[in-house]
Structure formats: C-alpha cells, structure tokens
C-alpha cells in the first residue's frame, strides 16, 4: 500500500510540475502566443495609428519634432497635452521605463479598469475609447480563454479550429465566471474603501514618514492582494468549468475556492512565481530598453521589437500560468481521488 506524500513535499512537487507543465505548453505551442500577441497588437494599433498620424501632423515643421526624435521635449509635450481632450492625453512620460508597469497597476488599484467600474468617479471622457477597447479585449480573452483551456485539457498541439471551437463552446461559462469575478472584485473594492480610509488616517497621524508610507503602500498592497486572490480563484474556476464541464459559474467558483483553501501553498506559490517572473521580465526589458538609444527609424525598429518581446513574454507567462493552473487542479483532483480510495 502506497502512502500519501507529505503535504509539504506535495506542494513543492505540484508547484514544480505546474511550472514545468506551463512552460512546456508554451514551448510546444508558440503559435498560440503569437496569435494572442497579434490580437493584442492589432487592437492597440487601432488607437496607436491615429495617434501617430496626429502627432506627425502636430510636430510637422517644428524643432520639437527633432527634439522628440532624439529625446523628450518636456516643454512641447506639456503645452501639447494641455489641449488634448481625447485619449491622446495619456501619452505622458509616466509610461516610460518601469513607469509603464506602475501606471498599469495604479489604474487597477484606482478601480479604473474595466470601464472605471470601481473608481467611484466617471472616467475622463477622453479615455472612453481606451476603456471600451479594454472591454473588447477582455471579452476576446474570455472567449479565447475557454479555447486555450480546452487545448490544455486535450494535451495536444493547438489549432485555430480547436481554439475557436473551444472558445465558442465555453464562452458563456467563461463570461459568467468573468462577471462573477468582477462582482467579487467590486466587493473587494467596497471592503477596501473603509480599510483604505482607516490606513490613510493612520498614515496621516504617523510620527514618521516611513511609518506613513508603510501604511499607505501597505493598504494598496492589501488591495492588490485581494484582487490577485480574485484573479487566482477566477482562473481555477475557469479550469474547473472546462475540466469538469461545469456550467454553473457559482459552483465553479466555489470549487476554485475549495481548491485554493485546500492548497494555499501551491496556489499561492504558483502566483508568487509568476508575479516574480513578471517583475523580472519588466526589469530585463527596462534594462535593455534604457541601454538602447533610439535615434531614427532603424533604431526604433529595435526599440519596438524589444517592446513587443515584452508583450509576447507577458502573454507567454499568461499561457504558462493557465497551463500551470490546470496542472495544479489535476494534482489536487488526483490527491482527492487517492484520499477517497484510502
């Protein structure tokens, strides 16, 4: 009679297997990452191309064009931004370097994504196209997510037909789980509001700035942790919906919560690994980007390629994450089955 592995060894083993499975899936299906990248790039280009045209027109026959070619003309940008009423106003130096990641996270924590649902304030009218595009992208990813999970479940190589078939089949479930996740994110924001106010008050009353910063950054981290928990559980709910053919989003969510509660180390460790990998990805990109001086079209191509590698890397991480979640789910299901047999 075999004896079950110790819980600690089981967590470590499941985590390592999840990481292995995740990256193997990406390595065996690079085309899937490329497809997701093409979709991401295509949608973003819908707004970036008009911006390029507008910028080109506004910089035409001016010295700031030369300044902006070789650096960043802050004076020109500051004046230019004052009369931008549309999404163009989001072109700021804040998106350079690691600011890109900080800006994204800050928007999430302010509740501006998606559609300004959790911010308590109406988003600026000019940013409506961005937010609308974000929702389209979110829906597209929910659609593709079902297809990707079906592919992972099948274990074979990906095909566009299989992806679309799986996506179409599972989309209603994915959508329900997504909506439920958003509702739960709303709860997280609602419960964070008093916490944030309380922590802010503690920060204001703190004796030292260091303590104040700990309170302030701490409550933002708490919110981030809450949202990350939703994201993790939502991911497992989608896995369960596909693996167990569950049509009830609520039951899938409950199953996911049960899985996370039973295996906090492996699910939390899996998340931590991917957060760290994401940070490493941003760090590597930032270092490469800052070492590369963009001065013309040819150097721009390299900058653009570096940026796209960042996006592709991020998409690959997401695919590896999804495959890893399936692996953790299977390991968990196996251990439950073993336990049942025992």
């Amino acid at each position: 009679m075999s004896s079950p592995a110790t819980p600690a060894a089981g967590d470590d083993g499941a985590l390592a297997a999840a990481l292995r499975t995740g990256f193997r899936f990406v390595a065996r299906n690079p085309g899937l990452a490329v497809l997701l990248w093409a979709l991401n790039l295509g949608l973003a280009a819908l707004l970036a191309v008009p911006l390029a045209a507008r910028l080109g027109e506004q910089l035409r026959e001016t010295a700031p064009a030369v300044h902006m070619l070789y650096g960043f003309d802050w004076s020109w940008w500051a004046a230019w931004r004052e009369w931008q009423t549309g999404y163009e106003g989001t072109l700021t130096p804040a998106i350079l370097g690691t600011g890109l990641a900080f800006d994204n996270v800050a928007r999430v924590l302010r509740g501006e994504l998606p559609l300004g649902l959790f911010s308590g304030n109406l988003p600026p009218a000019g940013e409506a196209p961005l937010l609308a595009l974000g929702v389209v992208y979110m829906l597209a990813q929910l659609f593709l997510g079902g297809g990707v999970l079906a592919l992972i479940r099948g274990g074979g190589r990906w095909s566009l037909r299989g992806l679309l078939h799986g996506g179409g089949f599972y989309f209603p479930r994915m959508l329900r789980i997504g909506l439920l996740s958003l509702a739960l994110a709303g709860l997280v924001f609602a419960s964070h509001a008093p916490l944030g106010g309380w922590a802010g008050e503690r920060a204001r009353l703190a004796v030292s700035e260091r303590v104040a910063s700990a309170w302030s950054i701490g409550h933002h981290l708490a919110l981030l942790a809450g949202l990350a928990s939703i994201y993790v559980a939502s991911g497992y709910a989608k896995v369960i919906a596909v693996a167990e053919e569950r049509s009830s989003a609520a039951l899938a969510w409950l199953g996911a919560l049960g899985l996370c509660a039973r295996h906090p180390l492996r699910t939390g460790g899996h998340l931590a690994c991917f957060v760290l990998l994401g940070a490493l990805l941003v760090a590597v990109w930032t270092r490469a980007d800052s070492a590369w001086h963009t001065v013309g079209y040819r150097t721009q191509v390299v900058s653009l390629a570096l940026g796209q590698l960042l996006v592709i890397g991020r998409l690959a991480l997401r695919l590896a994450w999804m495959a890893g979640q399936v692996s953790i789910y299977r390991a968990s299901a196996r251990s439950v089955a073993v336990a049942d047999r025992l």
């Binding site: 027109e57 900080f102 939502s234 721009q300 796209q308 996006v311």
Partner: protein
C-alpha cells in the same frame, strides 16, 4: 521555492536599482561653479552696511508647554520712531488668531482649512504696558482692526494707543505679556505634530513702517510677512529632551531643575525670530568656509527617517550660500539653521531670518532635485527677504520672484535640468503624498520650463504686481508671485546678458541691504546698470496680465523648376500674446547662409522676404532669451525632412506598448 525567492530578489533589485539615465551634456556635474570672486568691473558696488537700522528690537522670555502646545511669554520691545511723524497708535500683528476660528480673514479666504477647537491656534494679550517715554497701561486701549478686508471678526491685527504721541527719533518701550496656542498639524506654517513644534509669527509683533506709514494688514490667506529690523534676545524655556533650533546663535543654556532648560538665542539685524523644538531631531552640523567669505555654521535638524538626506541638505545649503554670495553679497550672519519638518507638518518650505524649513521625502531620487530645490530657494530668501527686506504683504512677488529666479539660476548652473516623475501608492487620490517615486528615464526639463504651464493656465487672471490679497485665486497668487516674476527676470537676463544681470543683482541687493526696497527701486537699478529706460519692459511684464507668445511661419511663393529655390520665401513672425518685446529672428538658408533679423515685436506680425533662396529653418528668439514665451513650441519652423513622422512613430510606438500592456492587464480582471 528557493529558486523563486532568488528570482524575486533578482527581479526586485533590477527594477528598483535601475539608475535613471543622466541628462546629456551639461548636467553631468562639469558645469562651472559660480565664481566667488568679484570682478574688478564691480569694484564700485555699494558697500554692505555694517548694521541694520535696528528699529524694532525685542527681548523675549517664553516658555513652551509641549504637552499642551502652548506658549506663555513676556517681551520688551524697543521701537524707535523712524517714520518721520509722531505716532500715538501702535498696531501689532497677532498672526495665530488667524487659526482661532473660521471667522478669521485667513480662513475665510482659504476656504479649505478647518480650525476645530482641538487644533486651533490663538494668541491672547494679557497686558500691554508702555514704559518709555512714559509709563502707561495700554491694555484698556487694545482694539482689533479691520483694515482692507472689512472683517470685524478677525483678530489678527490689534492696536494700542499711547497717552501722547511718540516723536520722530524717540524710542517707545513696550512690555507685553501674552499666551498663545500653536496651531495644530498642517493648519499653518507654524504648527505642532506630536512633539515637533515649529514656532513662527508667535509673539505680538509691531507692524513695520513702509513708505512712511504703518504696514498694518490682517493676516490674509496667501500673504507672508513684513517687519522692521532690530535685535532679538530670546530666552526659550522648554522641556529637557527637546532639541531646539532657532534664529540666531545660542549664547547661554541653563538647566532649571524642574525638567526644563532655558536657552538664550541672540541675533542682531533681523526682522523676525522663529524656533523649533522636537525630541526626534537628528543634528548635523558643518561649517562653510570659502575663501573671501566669512565662515557660516550650518546646523541641520533632521527627521531620523531622512538621515540619508543630510548631505544633500547641507550641500544644497552650501551651494545656495556660495551662489548667492557671488551674485548678491556674502551671507552676513555667522550661522544658518535648517529644519527638516516632521511628517504631517505644514511648516515646510518657509524662510525666517537665519532659519529655514526644507522638505523632503524618504524616497528622494536625485533627478527630482528635492530637497535641493526647496533648500536653495529658502537660502535665497536669506538674501531676498532676510536682508533685502521687501514687503511680502504688498509685493510678495518681489522677493518670491527674485528668490525663485535665483533658485532656478543656481540649480541650472550647478545641478543642471531636473527630471520628471510621479509618485505611486501614496496617500492622496493620485498617490503623490508619501508615495513611491518613479522617475521617467531620459526626461529632463529646461530652466523655467516647469513654470510655463502655470502661466498658461492662470497667467491672465491678474496683473502680476498686486498686494497678496487682491489676486483672484490662490493659484493666481502662486503663478504671479513665483512663476511669472521668475520667468520675467530670466527674460531680462536674456535681454541684458548674464554679466549685466549679475551686476544688477549685486547692486540692488547691496544697495538695499537692511532696507525695505520696492519694485520701483529694483527697476531703477536695472535702468542704472543696464542703461536706458526699462519701464516698457516692466510695464509689459510685471504690471500686466498679458502673456508673451511669439510664433513663426514660413511660406514659399511662386513656381520654380525642380530642385531650384523658390522665387520668394516669406518668413512671418507673429505675436499671439499681448506682451510686446523685441525679438530676434534667425533664418537658415539651404545654401548655408544665415540671416539675423530684429523686430520690435509691437505689431501683430512682421514679415521678412527672401528672393531666390530656400529657407531650411527659421527661428524667432533663436537664443531662447524670452523665457516668458508661453508656447516655445511655435518658435521654430524647420523644413520637413521626415523628423516629424519619425518622432511621431517613436512616441506612438512607445504609447502602443503602454496600451498593449494596459489591454493585457484587462485580461487579468475577468
């Protein structure tokens, strides 16, 4: 798991250890330091007076109740009548009554600040006695004044009446007893937070004489201060365990045996006295001893969490003292105290004689030049306000503007352009307060560039030269007291040249040291040194609410064979703003030639025509002298050779990357 931890450490260290790339060229520390030597051409500078007129001298004995944040005190004031006419009524400022209740002029104008009973500030006079030239109890004559605000509920200005007038040249001696409560955290520039106390404008202070009259005004929301020079001899009794810093030099310290100690500070030739006490201060001291200048002892009282910023504070102070010593006169006092305010205090960024407050964040990337900027600005005030004591109530822009100009000049000369960044995850809505700083790599601002947005936003709200309480909004006060005068002086520097500007500064500051000059005095020095009438310049700038904006257009006329220059090229300079300043125009031709033109800038436009020559580029204000030009982006025309398209591709590509990541972030949320 260990691998994950290693991975994490690596990632975090790479993200946060990245040094932002430095600005190219001049910002690498190779800039020349301002010379401390006075060139021979300036040998005829006015000498610096040995002493001030010493009109209002105080001897103060005060006790701090740190637990209750209260002060009780007794002072003797010797006031010499230098106004030229007999004076029987004597106005006194009681500044902390601005925070007594919401009915004060200050809080009414401010509109945002609360003053509940727990944190309100106040000052009450127990007795006012005239002891010379005759003895009389003036307490019954005490009454509060309304002045220009018409607010009878305000108690920040009171007057007492003597039995008979004090004659010109005669000295009146007053003895005053008072009690005061320090305003609460963030309520005022004097406040307490935990056991940190920044005590300024804290005693009953006689109004100054300006233009032969009392300069007696209630304490307005965005007004600062004005007083006559004198000597201060101040004894402060505070609980043992509190570190104390103050205006002047410490000459005596006594342990009282009741858990308190008394420190005596003395300073001659100043017009105010401020002090601070806290148990948390770290003390750092240095001596600035430059050849040709008297030594200055710099004492820094620092919050413990800012210990790593001590060198930057002290270096900034040294940089300011050196720069302004060269451009104005050697700092005339033997010491300077710098206070790093406590978290939550509103006392940062203020100037008092020989005593300044700075301000910094635990995370202060060097690119953002904080605490350097605020420290250097307040050091500049030691010269322009401290010694050249302009009226900060009626002409705030004169000392704030000059100090801002000197600050920007010193920063530019010594540290180069500042960077740009945002703070994340801090306290306020946008996270800027106590947040984590992220500096945008490769983004730097040229001198004065950071001031232009304010000028564009509210520059036309008011003429610049107004008393502090007459600006339409606080933002207009800020733009007209800091941004516009700074840019005006930078523009003047561009017009007269750096050397002449330095001579103007040296002459003005030395001539009016320990005096109360006004705008007309500065203008007359400009005209004397630069030569000629400059009234037109100041009428267009300081005394106007118009903006300066010149632009340029180029148009080719007629048909020409392929590759040949056009028959006629018109270069049109346009004046979009109301300010009329002479401008230079530079035209670069395709054949390598360059034409320089001048225009008096008075009309709405001026056109230059060139026959048979191809213009490659045209610039209005090619040497960037008009720092006041609110739209520098339209000052140039450059023949399009693809730069615009490439720049647009570059930055829209960068934005594309941001948007792609934003979209991918959406994918995490469903």
């Amino acid at each position: 798991m260990r691998a994950a931890l290693l991975l994490g450490t690596l990632a975090v260290s790479m993200v946060f250890a990245l040094p932002p790339p430095g600005p190219s060229g001049e910002a690498d520390g190779s800039r020349p330091r301002p010379s401390l030597e006075l060139p021979g051409a300036d040998a005829g500078l006015p000498p610096l007076p040995d002493t001030s007129p010493r009109i209002a001298s105080y001897s103060i004995d005060a006790r701090l109740d740190a637990a209750r944040h209260e002060i009780s005190g007794r002072l003797t004031l010797d006031w010499r009548n230098e106004s030229g006419v007999p004076r029987q009524r004597f106005p006194f400022h009681l500044y902390w009554n601005a925070f007594r209740d919401r009915r004060s002029t200050h809080l009414r104008e401010w509109g945002e600040r609360a003053a509940d009973e727990a944190v309100s500030g106040r000052i009450d006079l127990d007795s006012v006695t005239l002891v010379a030239p005759e003895t009389a109890d003036l307490t019954p004559t005490l009454r509060f004044l309304e002045c220009e605000s018409g607010n009878a509920d305000d108690r920040t200005l009171a007057e007492v009446s003597a039995p008979r007038p004090v004659l010109p040249g005669e000295v009146a001696r007053f003895e005053i007893e008072w009690r005061a409560r320090i305003p609460g955290p963030g309520l005022s520039r004097s406040d307490w937070v935990h056991d940190y106390h920044l005590v300024a404008q804290w005693f009953p202070k006689i109004a100054g004489i300006w233009k032969g009259e009392w300069n007696a005004h209630q304490f307005h929301a965005w007004s600062e201060f004005f007083a006559d020079f004198g000597n201060y001899d101040v004894r402060l009794t505070v609980p043992v365990g509190l570190e104390v810093g103050a205006t002047g030099r410490l000459v005596e310290e006594t342990r009282n045996g009741d858990g308190t100690r008394t420190l005596r500070f003395v300073q001659e030739d100043v017009h105010d006295f401020a002090w601070t006490a806290s148990s948390r201060f770290l003390v750092r001291e240095t001596e600035l001893d430059e050849p040709g200048y008297p030594p200055v002892r710099v004492r820094l009282l620092l919050q413990p969490e800012h210990a790593h910023l001590a060198e930057r504070y002290l270096d900034a102070a040294a940089l300011g003292l050196r720069s302004f010593g060269a451009w104005c006169f050697p700092y005339p006092y033997p010491q300077l105290t710098i206070v790093d305010p406590a978290w939550g205090s509103g006392s940062g960024g203020m100037e008092y004689p020989t005593f300044i407050t700075g301000g910094a964040s635990v995370w202060s990337p060097t690119a953002l030049q904080s605490p350097e900027r605020v420290t250097i600005h307040e050091v500049a005030h030691q010269f322009l306000y401290g010694v050249v004591a302009t009226n900060e109530m009626r002409e705030a822009w004169l000392d704030e503007g000059l100090a801002s100009y000197l600050t920007a000049r010193a920063l530019w000369a010594n540290l180069g352009p500042d960077g740009w960044g945002l703070r994340y995850f801090g306290l306020d809505d946008r996270g800027s307060d106590a947040g984590w700083p992220v500096v945008a790599p490769g983004v730097y601002r040229l001198r004065g560039a950071d001031r232009l947005p304010e000028l564009r936003a509210v520059g036309t709200s008011d003429p610049m030269a107004l008393p502090a309480w007459e600006y339409r909004t606080r933002r207009s006060y800020g733009a007209n007291s800091y941004a516009k005068p700074e840019l005006t002086l930078q523009t003047l520097e561009g017009l007269v040249g750096d050397e002449v500007m330095t001579r103007i500064l040296r002459t003005y500051t030395r001539r009016y040291a320990f005096r109360h000059p006004e705008a007309a005095d500065f203008i007359s020095v400009v005209e004397e040194i630069a030569g000629g009438d400059f009234g037109w310049f100041f009428d267009q700038t300081w005394f106007s609410s118009e903006l300066c904006d010149y632009g340029i257009e180029v148009r080719e006329r007629g048909e020409s064979p392929e590759g040949a220059p056009p028959p006629l090229t018109e270069v049109t300079v346009r004046r979009y703003g109301g300010v009329q300043l002479p401008v230079e125009v530079r035209v670069d031709f395709g054949d390598g030639g360059v034409a320089r033109e001048r225009w008096d800038g008075r009309g709405r436009w001026c056109r230059f025509r060139y026959e048979g020559r191809r213009v490659d580029a045209a610039f209005v204000d090619p040497d960037e002298r008009l720092a006041l030009d609110t739209q520098p982006g339209n000052d140039t025309w450059v023949r399009e050779r693809g730069a615009a398209a490439r720049a647009a591709a570059r930055w829209s590509g960068r934005w594309l990357l941001w948007l792609q990541n934003l979209l991918e972030t959406h994918a995490l949320l469903g």
